[in-house]
Symmetry: C2
Amino acid sequence: MTTRDDAPPPRRDPWELPDVSDLVIGVLGGTGDQGRGLAYRLARAGQQVIIGSRSADRARAAAEELGHGVQGEENAACASRSDVVIVAVPWDGHARTLTALRTELAGKLVVDCVNPLGFDKRGAYPIVPEEGSAAQQAAALLPDSRVTAAFHHLSAVLLQNPEIERIDTDVMVLGEDRDDCATVQAVAQLIPGMRGVFAGRLRNAHQVEALVANLISVNRRYKAHAGIRLTNI
Amino acid sequence: MTTRDDAPPPRRDPWELPDVSDLVIGVLGGTGDQGRGLAYRLARAGQQVIIGSRSADRARAAAEELGHGVQGEENAACASRSDVVIVAVPWDGHARTLTALRTELAGKLVVDCVNPLGFDKRGAYPIVPEEGSAAQQAAALLPDSRVTAAFHHLSAVLLQNPEIERIDTDVMVLGEDRDDCATVQAVAQLIPGMRGVFAGRLRNAHQVEALVANLISVNRRYKAHAGIRLTNI
């Protein structure tokens, strides 16, 4: 006999995402092109955003340029004051920056969007970090944080162009914890045109990061700022 | 002074692709799901298709089921009789199959669509071949062939469903030679809804192959048969 208590819990709707409007979003590397672009889009969507830099002065100057209430702080203060911290630093400063911020990032939801790439005369190619991916390196260096990966495939040019209202692209979100991924998906969806799509665990982050090398080839061939949509979902 | 002869050649339109209607398309591993699906779609679009298998009888039986003039042959005859040969064998037979067909594949345009993946209880994860990717392994094993990579992200379920008319997805095409890639792009575009998009050299094939692990995660979460579109091109 099946009683009501025996029934399996209803399947969770993968598109049902939490309200993230109260979360403060920090962007480490917020004075770089990708960081500025993300900060601009999230702030323009009404979110409280703090950009971090090694220099508090540079962070404040960049924040003032971006407008929309963006604040600037030295990296450590940016991490401490934020609920969700996007890591948008250059790959060659990735390990050093995160190691230095381990205490400030404890308990935070960290979103790594770093693409480890090398460049030579034939174009871009992926670098394989010892840990497997930038995101896995972040997870290894930040054992007290909740590490996810997302925002790899966005064009910094499009993000920063104030005349563009919508950016029609999907944001692949990777992570180990379903609620953490859902939060990051919801953050992505603050930006008009974007969907946040769960796309696997951190062990599958390398190819998502490395795919930027292909997008660079696409952009060169088609004179474009290509993004990615997942079809049929 | 600039004379007409000094002017650079006009930039080639990346969307201008050759007529491939006369090319015979072979599909090694044509009795598997991916191979059957591709053979079906290309034959239904009017192309001459030969599927190959280790067993000529199995190949012929599968060809008859597919209809649309598809023929079946043992792998070696399939390779010899085709102009473009799609490699859709399972990863664990990839090196063995290609090594055995080196002579028959000499001079042919080879299109590798194999995704080296492992599976465990947490899902799919990429396997990294010694050569870097399945496509680079094919290039190493087939020095007399023109090796490209494409057709990684197509759902075999959608390909094989005769009720589906269009498959709205992009086919990332990778390779070293522009004309070879253009031919493969044109083959992809035979299938309604598909675009063939150049997406880099073979050294950037691994992440394209491995991304199937992420699509499997997406499909599981969203109960979907996800594909990929490149936006803004």
